[in-house]
């Protein structure tokens, strides 16, 4: 066939027509769209049988019951556990994000040892040998007291094992991070009995006076309290928030009383004065059960008349009187203290003044009032075998006078050579959560050898020499004693519902392994085969119920102590906790702000949690500080501007968020930001407010009770 131009063209056109009518192009077009619907890089989660497992969330002190939805044994979703006494189905955003913590890329995936500046993998066996070697040296040198341990709590069997280990080893230096719980316990020790702690029957209260408590920011047991807040809306209870800034809590309150920062104690005492002067107090309770009332009465009448208090607090005298009247006239009033989440200790003057209000109302051990609850005891711990080294060691006083972590670090920084040679850090992150982070880091660096039991590479773990990584809570057994401030005793049980995902261990087992490897009296003080056996033994008769239901609830007829109260400490009128810095060079006041959506404790916030945080708090890597428009105008700042914030402790670059709800002259800065540890979702976002605030020791308790610091803002 002759292919001329014409037939070539014809062929070409024919081919085009042929292909077009053929199914080929249409099939290809269809295939290509189907391909976009099945991109291999978009995951397809495997399906399977659905089951639910119950456990307890221990991310925060709330200790909510949670339920884990699983597909073929693979956990896919966290839900609140319905019917659980603390949270009855509700759950906070952090608990909901637990699975992100489980698979967190920042987790320590196996034991690590620091060689120079880099981490090297090490087997569990070698890690334990190495730690025991260091420990054995201390005992050999007859200085077991050079071992110290920091944990978040002294409750429950895992912390119990750490504390027991230190005793058996020969050290008193067991520290827990100070929070408002400690101040409340000290307050109760002063005003009621030692060995008692407060139970606030908030749900049945009809008038709640909160001195800066972040009731909605995560104070106490967060979900439990959110539920109570809703119950108040239904039964029309009145909630009054006293705070210099319109927090979430203040926003939810029926009345918000903006008060000058740090003058809460004055306000409380002013109210006491008014109640006493007008004879509005419960005479039968005051005359029948209290000591030191006359001294207290004279003291407040002399120093805290509403008129005087009005000047210090900025609250009009009429308002103080009105509040006092409302509080005294309420059927079941309660006053509470503990700033923000309550993760930091408070001032004894303030707490006793606030509790004095409760006593004046006579609302002790009554429905809707404050209860004196004995410490919860269920551990059947056998006696510790103390050898001579141990006995000599524990006869030495604890390092740092008040026995607080702040005091320990202060002591270390004050000494040429660290009095601590070996430090255990378990479930705490002092290099992030404590005031004056720089000083804490300095102290930590002075300690020759640090053993971290952390699950994630946090700021403190990064400074350790060896990490014996723990299971996170979803992977382990653990008994969880009740949350702070509840009027019922709820003990929960954490059970492994996942993993372990990585080569980690239950911290209880890690301690048992170390103890056993040390041999002698230390080993024999730990007669349990493993942590699970220990847990079963120690919980004893409640174990069956605990493991069966997942929790144990003791209600109604708890053995409450007599409601006696002693006003003597309050009558002493101790100094208020002053803030650092002079007004001349630092005209403003910086107050840390707690935010429910940001974790400010041991854990860094999860990707989900960070995602919920407003762009008026973090914008890209910048933190925004709250400023009243009046303050901003004076400095010449407007919304979104960069500014330098300076305090006696340091400086930082921040952005400005103009907020009508903050008192002029006050700067609010969110807690929980400015992480430096490796975690792509939170690292280097914002500034850690604890770098700008230094510790201030409260004379009443010896604890660091700083609530803010003087500051200066300038344009950049």
């Amino acid at each position: 066939m002759k292919v001329d131009r014409r037939s070539f063209l014809g062929l070409g056109l024919g081919a085009v027509a042929g292909v077009t009518v053929s199914p080929l192009p249409w099939k290809l077009i269809d295939d290509v769209s189907i391909w976009t619907q099945n991109w291999p890089w978009t995951p397809v989660p495997p399906d399977g049988e659905v089951t639910y497992d119950n456990t307890v969330c221990t991310l925060c002190p709330g200790h909510c019951g949670i339920s884990v939805r699983k597909i073929n044994g693979r956990p896919v979703k966290i839900e609140g556990r319905k019917g659980y006494p603390i949270n009855d189905g509700g759950v906070c955003l952090h608990g909901l994000s637990s699975l992100q913590y489980l698979y967190d890329p920042a987790r320590v995936k196996q034991p690590l040892m620091k060689k120079g500046k880099v981490w090297e993998k090490i087997s569990w066996k070698d890690a334990i040998t190495l730690v025991t070697g260091k420990l054995a040296e201390l005992r050999k040198k007859q200085s077991p007291d050079r071992l110290a341990c920091i944990t978040d709590t002294d409750k429950g069997t895992i912390s119990g094992l750490f504390e027991r280990f230190l005793k058996a080893f020969g050290s008193n230096n067991f520290y827990t991070i100070s929070s408002m719980d400690k101040t409340w316990e000290k307050t109760f020790k002063m005003m009621h009995h030692s060995g008692s702690s407060p139970g606030f029957d908030l749900k049945n209260s009809d008038f709640i006076l909160s001195f800066g408590c972040g009731f909605i920011e995560g104070w106490g047991s967060p979900v439990h309290n959110f539920k109570i807040n809703s119950a108040w809306k239904e039964n029309k209870a009145k909630f009054v928030q006293i705070e210099p800034r319109l927090s979430h809590t203040a926003a939810k309150a029926d009345m918000w009383i903006p008060v000058k920062p740090g003058t809460d104690a004055d306000l409380a005492l002013g109210m006491c004065c008014e109640i006493i002067s007008k004879d509005l107090y419960d005479t039968s309770y005051i005359s029948g059960f209290t000591k030191g009332f006359n001294d207290f009465s004279n003291m407040v009448k002399k120093n805290y008349t509403p008129e005087k208090v009005s000047k210090t607090t900025g609250v009009p005298a009429s308002k103080i009187k009105e509040l006092a009247l409302k509080f005294a006239k309420a059927k079941t009033p309660v006053a509470i203290a503990g700033k923000g989440r309550g993760y930091k200790a408070g001032s004894m003057k303030e707490f006793t003044a606030v509790h004095a209000l409760n006593c004046l109302a006579g609302n002790i051990n009554k429905k809707g009032g404050v209860w004196t609850m004995p410490f919860m005891e269920y551990g059947n711990w056998p006696a510790i075998n103390m050898d001579s080294v141990a006995s000599a060691g524990v006869s030495k006083p604890v390092i740092g006078e008040s026995g607080s972590v702040a005091a320990l670090f202060e002591k270390i920084n004050a000494s040429k050579k660290s009095p601590v040679d070996l430090l255990f850090v378990y479930q705490s992150n002092p290099c992030f959560t404590m005031h004056d982070v720089k000083a804490v880091e300095k102290a930590v660096e002075k300690i020759p050898f640090i053993v971290s039991f952390s699950s994630v590479m946090d700021e403190t773990a990064e400074k350790a020499d060896i990490i014996l990584p723990s299971h996170m809570f979803l992977e382990r057994y653990e008994d969880v004693p009740g949350a702070f401030g509840l009027v019922e005793e709820v003990t929960g049980l954490c059970v492994p519902v996942a993993g372990p995902v990585f080569n980690t261990k239950n911290p209880g087992d890690s301690i048992l392994m170390i103890a056993k490897a040390l041999k002698g009296s230390v080993a024999s003080s730990f007669p349990w085969e493993n942590y699970h056996a220990c847990l079963e033994k120690i919980t004893g008769d409640i174990w069956d119920k605990l493991s069966g239901d997942g929790y144990l609830r003791k209600d109604a007829n708890l053995p409450y102590l007599r409601p006696d109260a002693d006003f003597s400490f309050a009558a002493q009128n101790t100094e208020s906790v002053k803030m650092e810095g002079s007004e001349g060079s630092f005209p403003l006041i910086l107050v840390p702000v707690d935010n429910m959506r940001l974790f400010s404790g041991v854990f860094a916030s999860s990707p989900f949690a960070v995602k919920t945080v407003s762009d008026t708090i973090i914008k890209k890597r910048d933190i925004l500080v709250e400023l009243n428009p009046v303050t901003a105008k004076k400095i010449g700042l407007s919304h979104g501007d960069y500014a330098m914030i300076a305090t006696p402790k340091g400086t930082a670059k921040v952005k400005v968020h103009i907020f009508e709800g903050i008192m002029p002259g006050v700067v609010g800065m969110d807690e929980g930001l400015g992480h430096t540890a490796e975690n792509i979702f939170i690292k280097d976002k914002g500034v850690n407010v604890n770098e700008l605030v230094g510790p201030v020791i409260d004379t009443g308790s010896g604890l660091d009770a700083a609530w803010g610091i003087r500051a200066k803002l300038s344009k950049v």
Binding site: R5, R6, L9, I29, V32, S33, W35, T36
Partner: protein, 412 residues
């Protein structure tokens, strides 16, 4: 070098000069193509669009370009349906411009969607209630019409025309062009309108929502009307630019003045309708939804009442006045001013209908959303300009686009 391809007797610049010009435009084009490929392979995160600004710069460009390309359908309509014969001297160019505008619009849409490989769903799974469905159908059909209208012009190339097949094909297509011109005008009416409908039907967006006739909001008719009114100005503007670049007069003044006059009266009638629409919207529609007109023009860093003034007065009333008054329209400077203002006016209208609609807060606690495009968006928006420049240059060089060129050239 390429003299065989150049229409007989036409004077063109040297090939190297031409090639250099193309190369420069080609670089801009490649920049745009690179940005386009980024958008396709990395996704629309390459843009600065966001969830408030789902429609942004290039959707505006899309609407603007289609309105400007309206010269093709409207001139076609006048030429073939209403038989205004003088316009044959500019219709070729109007078709070329239309072709460029519409092919650009389609290209932009292909970059704009998140899943371009699924674009054909719009035909297969069509939702007849959606204005965008109407747009898609009319747009692709009209683009086909424009292609058909463009082909004979290509076939007129001296070299191509020597091939008997193309010669005859071209001839036969000429014969039926009126049918296509009519179809094109009909399709244009709907797709210009449906583009107006796109924002006019958004009853969740009080800024752009309008009541209307049957299923069509008033913006439907306003868009068609404005495209017909302003499109010829763009044809004239590009003609003037081409004349400026080539240094030659290409279209006779009487043709230009005729088109300008028609455009002037169209703009006049349109702007009256637009003013009535604006007043009704400001006095009735918006207040019934709880808005005062000034709410749409305050409390933000960009959209002030100036934009409404610029659109209606500077871009509407002023050019209309110039174009309908003989003395003014025949003053070449005023004429140029008028067509430039008109082009700006129509672009502003499309800008406002797309971008301001997205920016205005609707919930009482919402805030204004302002946005600035990323370089990828700018590059892909400039891409059609470079492409248009190249296509016009090639068409002008090799095709008998301007029938009066030779005549004018000889006259000189």
């Amino acid at each position: 070098m390429d003299s065989e391809l150049i229409p007989k007797g036409a004077k063109r610049c040297s090939f190297p000069f031409f090639a250099t010009g193309l190369a420069i435009a080609g670089i801009v084009l490649l920049w745009g193509v690179y940005a386009m490929l980024l958008c396709w392979f990395k996704g629309l995160n390459q843009t600065n669009m966001n969830d408030n600004y789902g429609f942004a710069l290039w959707i505006w460009a899309d609407l603007a370009v289609i309105a400007l390309g309206g010269g093709a359908f409207f001139t076609g309509l006048l030429r073939y349906i209403f038989g205004i014969d003088e316009l044959k001297n500019i219709i070729n160019f109007a078709v070329v411009i239309g072709f460029i505008c519409y092919s650009s619009a389609l290209l932009i849409l292909a970059i704009d969607v998140g899943q371009p490989l699924r674009s054909w769903f719009i035909f297969w799974h069509a939702n007849v209630h959606s204005m965008l469905t109407e747009v898609a159908f009319c747009l692709s059909l009209y683009f086909s019409v424009l292609t058909i209208e463009f082909i004979p012009l290509i076939l007129e190339n001296r070299k191509i025309n020597k091939v008997p097949f193309f010669h005859h094909l071209g001839h036969n297509m000429h014969g039926i062009m009126a049918v296509f011109a009519a179809t094109g005008a009909f399709l244009s009416f709907f797709h210009q309108g449906s583009l107006g409908g796109v924002s006019g039907v958004l009853y969740g967006r009080p800024f752009s929502f309008r009541h209307g006739l049957l299923i069509w909001p008033w913006t439907f008719f306003l868009f068609t009307w404005s495209a017909a009114a302003y499109g010829p100005c763009f044809t004239l503007l590009i003609t003037k630019i081409t004349e400026g670049i080539t240094g030659k007069k290409l279209v006779k003044d009487n043709v230009v003045h005729l088109l300008a006059k028609i455009s002037g009266w169209m703009i006049t009638s349109y702007i009256i309708a637009k003013i009535i629409d604006t007043i009704y919207w400001a006095m009735v529609t918006a207040p019934s939804e709880g808005f005062t007109m000034m709410q749409f023009y305050s409390n933000n860093g960009f959209y002030g009442i100036w934009i409404l003034f610029a659109e209606i007065v500077l871009g509407g009333i002023v050019p209309a006045a110039i174009l309908i008054k003989k003395d003014w329209r025949e003053n070449s400077k005023l004429l140029l001013l008028a067509i430039i203002l008109a082009v700006i006016g129509i672009c502003l209208n499309r800008w406002v209908m797309v971008l301001q609609t997205m920016a205005v807060p609707v919930m009482s606690f919402d805030t204004w959303a302002l946005y600035f495009p990323s370089w990828q968006e700018i590059a892909t928006t400039i891409l059609p300009v470079a492409y248009g420049f190249i296509l016009i240059a090639i068409a002008y060089r090799y095709l008998p686009v301007f029938p009066q060129e030779q005549e004018l050239y000889i006259e000189k």
